[in-house]
Symmetry: C2
Subunit: 223 residues, 2 copies
């Protein structure tokens, strides 16, 4: 291998929103609403996956969804169209994340009383969203097969702070050089407790296991 020189250029990142996040988490727990923060890079299939999940669960639970984007309302519109649930589009004006303070402001506009499940579709980004506690009870991330099996090595914080990793677009495994075994190893070495579900939001493969996990988390929160 040719020589690679490395220089470290670090700056500190302060995330002083832990208190706000804890307040959101506690309030939603008290009212029996499981709050999930769903993250991924652009184009991993968050919107399609969430539409499928909501459609599968909306007969059992009352569900709400909030969607973060820079300035478009495409995703909230897609989810609302596909599922009929009320969605809130949050425009963050060019930031690469949403923090707990922003979620608090969104919750003032969105009545979550009586919801069993509130889903936050974060902005498409594998860096910043991992750094900010949004007040969610659990963090779910998606990695899609076309993105490559090296992504845990390159975006370790996202993988190490997620409770669940969905490996999406497994229907395209034949067309990409992607090792499910390697990606599992890489995720688990960063985060031994991560639950990993290979899925295809398009074909529905693997989704039943994800639905069962969500059902279990809703039940656990309410007990």
């Amino acid at each position: 291998m040719a020589e690679v020189r490395v220089i470290e250029i670090h700056e500190s990142i302060t995330a002083a929103n832990d208190l706000a996040a804890d307040m959101i988490r506690e309030q939603l727990k008290e009212q029996g609403t499981l709050f999930l923060n769903v993250m991924s890079g652009p184009g991993s299939g968050k919107t399609t996956t969430l539409s499928a999940v909501i459609n599968a669960l909306k007969g059992e639970f009352r569900i709400g969804e909030m969607d973060v984007d820079i300035e478009s309302s495409i995703d909230a519109g897609k989810v609302a169209d596909a599922t009929g649930v009320e969605t809130l589009q949050i425009h963050n004006g060019g930031l690469c994340h949403i923090d707990a303070d922003m979620v608090s402001r969104a919750l003032l506009e969105y009545d979550t009383e009586g919801l069993d499940l509130l889903i936050l579709e974060n902005i498409g980004n594998l860096v910043c969203p991992a750094e900010f506690d949004t007040g969610a009870h659990k963090r779910i991330m998606l990695l899609s097969v076309p993105e490559g099996d090296d992504k845990p090595l390159k975006y370790p914080l996202m993988f190490s702070t997620s409770d669940v990793v969905l490996i999406n677009k497994i229907d395209t495994m034949d067309y990409f050089d992607f090792s499910m075994e390697k990606v599992r190893e890489r995720i688990l070495s960063l985060n031994p407790k991560a639950k990993i579900f290979p899925i295809s939001a398009k074909t529905g493969e693997g989704l039943p296991e994800v639905l069962d996990w969500i059902r279990g988390e809703i039940a656990a929160l309410k007990n």
Copy 2:
């Protein structure tokens, strides 16, 4: 369409690095080095594309490459292995971008004198890198087919500030619902001067046009 409510949550972003960027640009122009800033979301194929471009041009030009990642050195290693050129891996310690100040510090470690072409592989992210002038003469972005043709609507700043948009992984067009016509319209409505090249870094399709564009830019810089 179901009703979608929208709230605006903006914060200001200050990028006070324009002077540093201009100094880099001017210095590299004086020494005859074209500086390209290459951006995309994670897994769009920057590393593979750049390796192919460097291999195709290294007989004609002296080329250097710098690679930005959070903490891994995978990409610089891949490019160095694939091409034999000297690469510099910059670790930005968890930030979602690289700015001109960080590039200046990197250039102190990397001798660019005599290079015809210096390529910066930015961190995989469609939000933050668009906001920071790195001092590059031209900005190139990649969008890959699996990410979807709606991305210009969702990440408009990236598309509107790029001089060139490479649509990569066109060899997988049959497996994804991606309209080249729609993506072209969306890019050009944001950025009428954008040059759009459909390519497959894997098969080499479309790369000759990209190489010709780079040759033209190197010639223009030196005149």
